[in-house]
Symmetry: C2
Subunit: 456 residues, 2 copies
Amino acid sequence: MRQHRIQLAESEMPTRWYNVLHDLPTPPPPVLHPGTGQPVGPDDLAPLFPMALIEQEVTNAQYVEIPGEVLDVYRLWRPSPLYRAYQLEKALGTPARIYYKYEGVSPAGSHKPNTSVPQAFYNARAGIRRLTTETGAGQWGTALAFACAQFGLECEVWQVRASYDQKPYRRMMIETFGGTVHPSPSTLTAAGRAILAEHPDSSGSLGIAISEAVEVAAQHADTNYALGSVLNHVLLHQTVIGEEALLQLARVGETPDLLVGCTGGGSNFGGLMFPFLRERWAGRMSPTIRAVEPTACPSLTQGTYAYDFGDTAGTTPLMKMHTLGHDFVPDPIHAGGLRYHGMSPLVSHLYETGEMEAIAKPQSECFAAGVLFARTEGILPAPEPTHALAAAIEEARRCAETGEEKVILTALCGHGHLDLPAYASYLAGSVTDHEWGDSDTQAALQASLARLPQLS
Amino acid sequence: MRQHRIQLAESEMPTRWYNVLHDLPTPPPPVLHPGTGQPVGPDDLAPLFPMALIEQEVTNAQYVEIPGEVLDVYRLWRPSPLYRAYQLEKALGTPARIYYKYEGVSPAGSHKPNTSVPQAFYNARAGIRRLTTETGAGQWGTALAFACAQFGLECEVWQVRASYDQKPYRRMMIETFGGTVHPSPSTLTAAGRAILAEHPDSSGSLGIAISEAVEVAAQHADTNYALGSVLNHVLLHQTVIGEEALLQLARVGETPDLLVGCTGGGSNFGGLMFPFLRERWAGRMSPTIRAVEPTACPSLTQGTYAYDFGDTAGTTPLMKMHTLGHDFVPDPIHAGGLRYHGMSPLVSHLYETGEMEAIAKPQSECFAAGVLFARTEGILPAPEPTHALAAAIEEARRCAETGEEKVILTALCGHGHLDLPAYASYLAGSVTDHEWGDSDTQAALQASLARLPQLS
């Protein structure tokens, strides 16, 4: 009898995170202080993060033990299921075998709680009383609010004003989990007040929201800041995804030929791929690893590998990464989680060193993939992972022509229940695609990088 | 190590539905034709339903085999998980052990696909090309649209105008699964046009929407009608819930002392409870079985056990059931799935014969339970099952006082991702409760029943 879901027992849940830094063939460039141009140290980060997370950001240990208190919360939804997409394969008439690792079963409906839970735990253990963060569409704010509820922390979220007004469901979910949401820019911070003085009707940006959340955290000893992607410790926490998927594929005797995942900040992608990279470096498998980004925000395929700020306002340390320029504002595509100007330094380094490839997809092709997936597999995907699904379907169709029985594993990082207006817009024919490459955009990128502090 | 989730293997999924009719200590009263006052026969139902479902409506066999094509689709989300609510128990400080059977993992996010899938299958096998149905808030329409996509049927849904306008997310989900949604009353049917002629601004009702869907199905030989609750064959299909839960509790060596579920039309409740009733009648366990209904629509605790119509317009056969009168219009509480004037004849019969008990809960207590559940267990429940959760929490708190280590099993029949505005309303303090018992309502019930056709 065919088996649709490969489900691990709770006793098989990973008990340690995998640190890809330990096994990288070459080390990635250091993160630099924008004032001194020197590598940042723990003291630079201590006003915002507890020491346990700072250590995880820089450690070279191959594995980090997951605390029992974190495992107890992970157990609410982990191990997450791996599915064989029989109904999708049938619809495509492909000899390829398609598997998807589904993170939409989590409390927030995405992979984000894999890191919000340990971040809340380590902060609570360090005596912190409150966490601040920014959120755009709201996935990360939801995940952090849930994690704070588990460990008795207050959670204060600055949400980009445009999303706050237009996507109220996410805000309601953050509040149901006990979090407080402020539209950003707000009058609660100097950064917010400065923006509002100049632009009273500002619809906000992630950069402004980060500035507000960081400002409040830096001003209060009992308050820290939490980030949902990009940083090393975030990707470290997400490796539970890949460790489980390795076990699950082995359970059905499969070795993947192709791994595909979408990339925004890179945490879902890294979380799935890093354990498979370890296996490839050890000679136990040789999958192709493919990142899929939106044509409207193609940091890997069209960006430059350079030192740049992580936020629009230019307040973070400088990271060597693929970037479209820290003041690049992507088109308002529906996959809000993929609208980030940069890319995790770890993923950027792997791309630059040829360990993985990347392609870009227009959103209409991605929504078509999402609708086909919903009608066949019964899961409505978030707009972000429809990018990975589009690439998986493209490969499976290629296999239908060539007859290749490729094993494809795709990261289905979240459900789209709160993204239904995006699907309605697609079905109504009002989704537009972005063509990259006009000279204005390239010139803007070069100008943005030219404005960076000069590094020695 | 504690185990949060009890997950069955796909090979342990039930392969047959359990028919409680076979084991009832006394048979339930027959369904009557409103014109003749005589029991309805297969020919009366043939214009709307395929013969396979009509047979399931009246069969006395103890079990009905589930077709392989239906099992293949069930496998997309079944067996559904049973969870031990460790985090909730900790928050309540109770010695009770609380388990919940979660149906929110289905494509529609509730138990409804358990019956929409076989209904679509049997109709497709009978050569039917299109199914029509009504939907209120939209759960049932979503489930039927998904099932039709699986078997290549068209799906046409008449959605109550008020919900169509106010709850667009469900409509969008139906359309994403490939269904067509009409606001009801519509100009597409004589029933709809008649209402609109008199009330151009009508916000519709379930009764009107049923009339429209039935009218279209009756007029076209290639079109049938599908119903999402109340009928025997619907409850039959839902027994996969209870069969799985029995296996799952046995897996961890537990015997339930109390089973609680919410009741609207009764299909989620019956689906969980019937297999446990079989075990109780066989002397293998002796759980208390408790239905929980909203104080705003208390058909079991305040209604009358009488023959009544299933729809507001009075077009269905007459069923002996607990009813508030077929023209009763309940307050617009957020648990739209529990706003039904009647109750499944099977559940009504079991209540009348003392096999189960029933209580009513005001919605504010239910939302408080839902918020506590979300923050502890990480799942946002739909407003309907918060009624069952409120009763489970009430019992667990009682156990905290008495020290009893009761085993409580509750039916968590769906997630509340598309019900977030209801939570926001509760958190804002604007949810109001309904006190039952004013004489006007009782008088209206008696008047409604007095208007029924006279039966011999």
